[in-house]
């Protein structure tokens, strides 16, 4: 006979299965409803998934200094219309063009934020993503840009929502030479019809171009990934200095500048440029950059060279500069803070994100080489074009669950793994809320240490960590005690409201264990 408690447990299982199926169903409806290649702003939306390409041109005539940038989003967040790769090209051969920054943002980039900088021949990079990604162009020039061309090629993986799939080499037309002044051109799309298979055959002539573009782009990403950035300014050397006009002090990774009277805005650091940045070379050009609070001013002074160095500008260093005492500025009788203080070589790659003192290089080359090799193998395979696309999805690093049962069983472990990965990251990405009346809305990163001071923040850190450890050890001790004590096993299970394995089997198979 089945007891009441067993009936109750069966009902619980039925409820769980029912809600699970309901969630699947809801998710399934969502998948079918969002299969378009989303282009949410900046260019015309509505490119359908079955045409496999987004190839757009956007003039940046109106993009002036200080603009937040324009954001384009590609792809969808489901697995039926993944964007495989994005290629960017920025034509920088424009008169008066000095430097630009392309900031690429996406949740599944191998490198979350990538900055592409060039002042000579343009810039082309590819990122591989299996989820939606955003492209954010930021104008970093001293003046507005005229007639700059910005081209985006989106490479689709060819998996569409009607169940058909085919080889990568036969689906996507990647390159389009767009003339200046045009708003949008895509000849291949114009030649396509609703029958995807016919489109594939029509595009066969472009296969070689497609493959070459992908491989060329991957070469570019290898180069890009190996770029090193160097910050020559050692904030640790700032220390503490009190002068007649105020105090300069390092607070964590920031510089605190305190004016102590109503007359002076300048406060001496008491250190020479050589002491603060020991490896600067005479005759080389360096760029000064930092962020600040509203009290601090946007320049420093080289006492000795009698020179003002404005934030965001380049300067060729002289021997006199190295021997000059550095003066910081804040409004009279206020406290200013300078954050992310950097001195970078103007002739090398310039990072617009903060790099700590020393050199920062990406070491993703092995991964990219491996990816390229796998893509090569895949593209060279001319067998059945309707074969499944799991291989290429694997190459792309996208999530393809090959063994759903074991994944579901270990789902709690996967969740913990993801949370652990997030916790072990030291970087912060601002949360984007999208665009409202032309303004980008986002939640900026907050470093609480800057507000509380390093001493208080470290104390709070230690107290919280000790508290957590104490709770953890207590839980661990209790759990181990329960396990090792005979007769407690059943109680533990009951407290967790889980059926025993035998009860579970009996529910499924029926009958007694014996």
């Amino acid at each position: 006979m089945i007891s009441n408690s067993q009936i109750s447990k069966i009902l619980k299982i039925v409820k769980i299965v029912f809600f699970g199926l309901l969630i699947f169903r809801l998710l399934g409806i969502n998948v079918k409803a969002t299969t378009s290649l989303n282009v949410t702003s900046g260019i015309t939306p509505g490119q359908s998934c079955s045409t496999h390409t987004a190839n757009r041109y956007c003039s940046l005539n109106t993009c002036q200094t200080g603009d937040a940038g324009q954001v384009w989003s590609f792809g969808s967040t489901n697995d039926t219309c993944n964007v495989m790769a994005i290629q960017f090209y920025l034509n920088t051969t424009i008169n008066g063009f000095t430097a630009n920054t392309l900031k690429l943002e996406g949740s599944n980039f191998r490198n979350t934020n990538y900055y592409c900088t060039s002042s000579v021949s343009g810039c082309s990079v590819v990122f591989i993503s299996s989820t939606q990604l955003n492209v954010n162009f930021q104008n970093n020039t001293a003046s507005g840009i005229n007639n700059a061309q910005f081209q985006i090629n989106a490479y689709n993986d060819g998996f569409i929502n009607n169940g058909q799939s085919w080889k990568l080499s036969k689906i996507t037309y990647l390159y389009n030479d767009i003339g200046q002044g045009q708003t949008s051109t895509d000849e291949i799309i114009n030649n396509q019809n609703s029958n995807n298979q016919e489109v594939i055959e029509n595009n066969n002539a472009n296969t070689e171009t497609i493959v070459n573009n992908i491989l060329s782009a991957i070469d570019t990403i290898k180069y890009g990934m190996n770029t090193c950035y160097r910050n020559y300014f050692n904030v640790q050397n700032v220390g503490y200095n009190q002068s007649s006009t105020g105090v300069v002090e390092r607070v964590g990774s920031s510089i605190k500048v305190q004016s102590t009277n109503n007359i002076n805005t300048d406060v001496s650091s008491g250190k020479t440029l050589k002491q603060l940045a020991p490896e600067l070379a005479v005759g080389s050009s360096y760029r000064l950059s930092y962020t600040k609070n509203s009290n601090a001013l946007d320049y420093i002074y080289l006492y000795g060279s009698n020179a003002v160095w404005t934030n965001g500008t380049d300067r060729i260093i002289t021997q006199s500069d190295l021997n000059s005492t550095i003066i910081f500025y804040t409004a009279k009788n206020t406290t200013g803070y300078l954050y992310n203080f950097m001195l970078q070589s103007s002739s090398g790659a310039i990072a617009t994100h903060f790099v700590t003192y020393g050199e920062e290089c990406s070491n993703k080359l092995d991964t990219i080489e491996d990816t390229q090799s796998q893509i090569n193998n895949y593209l060279q395979d001319n067998s059945d074009p309707t074969a499944d696309d799991n291989a290429i999805q694997g190459v792309l690093g996208g999530v393809t669950i090959q063994d759903p049962l074991s994944y579901l069983l270990t789902l709690p472990l996967h969740l913990i793994q993801k949370i652990n990965t997030l916790l072990s990251q030291n970087s912060c990405d601002a949360i984007q809320f999208g665009e409202l009346y032309g303004s980008q809305l986002y939640l900026p990163c907050i470093d609480i240490e800057d507000y509380l001071g390093s001493s208080l923040w470290n104390t709070i850190d230690v107290l919280m960590a000790v508290g957590l450890l104490a709770v953890t050890i207590k839980k661990f001790y209790d759990s181990v005690s329960n396990i090792v004590t005979l007769g407690k096993e059943k109680e533990v299970r009951e407290r967790l409201e889980l059926p025993t394995p035998m009860e579970f089997l009996q529910m499924i198979l029926g009958g007694d264990r014996s």
């Binding site: 399934g28 967040t77 063994d403 916790l423 850190d461």
Partner: protein, 107 residues
Amino acid sequence: MIARLITKFFNFILSLITKLVGIILTPLTALVSSLLPNLSSYVTIIDNFINTGLTNIGYFFSMLPPLTRSAIILEFNIISIFFTMYAGYIVYEVTIYLVTKIKSMFL
């Protein structure tokens, strides 16, 4: 540094467990795949959903000080160890039960 080491070690253990569970469940997976061919894609959607949700949580994690983060990671790892022990115990008992049943059928 410690947090990264723990995470790498944990990733290794997770990979090992996933593979072992996958091997043990191979027959059942084949059965389920034939009955529910789209299960894999649904699970992928769940995973993507989790990833999307966790992306923004990372913003708040970044505010936590380093020692506290390490302590949280340690706690999660201990939880995962207990989960693994319990899952292993279930697999063990089920296997013993099935073996006993099969033996009784032939004896």
